[in-house]
Symmetry: C2
């Protein structure tokens, strides 16, 4: 198959990476996509570095077997844990979600005060702080873990009172610091944007890592002359390691289109 | 060691079973306790029956190696999935949390309308409905999954606006059915009691499975003449399979006493 025709592979520990898939579909509507969500082993957040790295390699190798032309690690935990190892070992371009978000934040801030929200694991890893500070040592980064946001999104409670009061509690300390830019450092969070905006006010710029990552994908495809050029609708295929029904139910809220076809695979066996 | 002196073993997928441990400590203050929380593999809820059964046997065999006189499965998912297999294979008394809660609900209801709340897995298993209906075919059971309650409790948000509005949304349909008894079918939920009471009103009786399970433990120890009789303070030991710091942080809110000593073990290796 001509390399331009090959699909983009997207890997996530579960359903959250669909926000990234959605932005790629919007920005690059001709591209074929293969998505793998490791729903049998989600969440990765509480697992050790070794385990996360092993799971990530299994998932990525499964995508390589689908003959992808590049891979997007649409998962903050994996991006923060073993992106460089993956980039070293995998023979196609591999990008994560942290670098694009960090770059957009540094570009957006005017007062040099940036907030980052994410899961406990992502925040504790310090990956966003390192990425932002290495781009601009002059900015100040304040971060805050928001453990309730993922279950809120998975429950579909995006802009009710529960979401509003949770956001108020989590974001109050960042508001007090006077940040003018807030990085949504978890792939679930873009669905909460209306609530986050309500709490933060109009003057704070929200950096949507999903959108920034899609832009990065476009840039790389252009640079490497890998953009699909053939006519005809693109194909989207979805794979999960468990529970396709829940993935479809929650995921269609993320993707705003049908998740079909979907298959269940075992990444441990598939990549032997 | 004299059998009466042996500890009670408590097994849970994580920290929630500490509500059961707390009630056992209160009701049976002389008993020695060994607690194992499988924090490396929590949550069990989304895993298959085979996997849950394997994990449960590993955890229970680890407790058997600590020379326990009985075992409490302080986890609704495991109780709903493989309690009978465990009771068949393990040579000491093994009890779960569903049966005691179901019995207390049937005893408490006056109008025969019982509500059950729990995780998605527990509710979908239908285990409470079966247990309640087998005790009294005349009652009617309404159940509702409340997926946000576990993350709320783990965040320590027990009676703020977020907890209140979440409880209002989840419990509204049960209120409408006119239930007079509500079973808290998840070991995390007793911490939300004040909020649940506020939403349900004074006339609805809340069945706390943790408390009912502790009563069942007392009954079995009495029947089998296994109650500890020696003088001297009891010893409490805690084991987890990962992340002891988080277990201590969240768990001390559950237990209202120090979690010490705590050790990290690998149940797969320990039970070979």
């Amino acid at each position: 198959m001509e390399v331009r025709e090959k699909p983009i592979g997207i890997f996530d520990s579960g359903v959250g990476g669909l926000t990234v898939a959605k932005e790629i579909m919007r920005l690059l509507p001709d591209e074929n996509i293969v998505y793998f969500g490791d729903t049998a082993r989600v969440p990765y957040g509480s697992k050790s570095k070794e385990t996360i790295t092993r799971f990530a390699f299994e998932g990525v190798r499964f995508l390589m077997k689908q003959d992808v032309k590049m891979i997007v690690i649409a998962c903050n935990t994996v991006s923060a844990t073993c992106l460089e190892e993956l980039q070293r070992e995998i023979p196609v371009p591999v990008i994560g979600v942290i670098e694009p978000g960090a770059r957009a934040a540094v570009k957006a801030t005017e007062n040099g005060l940036i907030g980052v929200i994410g899961t406990e694991r992502t925040v504790n890893s310090g990956a966003y702080i390192r990425a932002i500070e290495s781009l601009n040592g002059g900015v100040k980064v304040f971060s805050k873990a928001c453990p309730l946001f993922v279950p809120l999104v998975e429950e579909g409670w995006l802009d009710n009172e529960v979401a509003y009061f949770a956001a108020r509690i989590y974001l109050e300390p960042l508001k007090k610091e006077g940040i003018d830019t807030l990085v949504l450092g978890c792939t679930h969070y873009p669905l909460l944007k209306p609530t986050l905006k309500k709490v933060m006010g109009d003057k704070v710029f929200l950096v949507d890592s999903a959108l920034e990552t899609a832009r990065e994908v476009e840039k790389i495809l252009c640079e490497k002359s890998l953009k699909r050029t053939k006519e005809g609708d693109p194909t989207y295929r979805f794979f999960v390691s468990d529970n396709p029904d829940k993935f479809i139910k929650v995921g269609e809220r993320f993707l705003k289109r049908p998740i079909d076809p979907i298959s269940v695979i075992d990444p441990e066996i598939e990549t032997l």
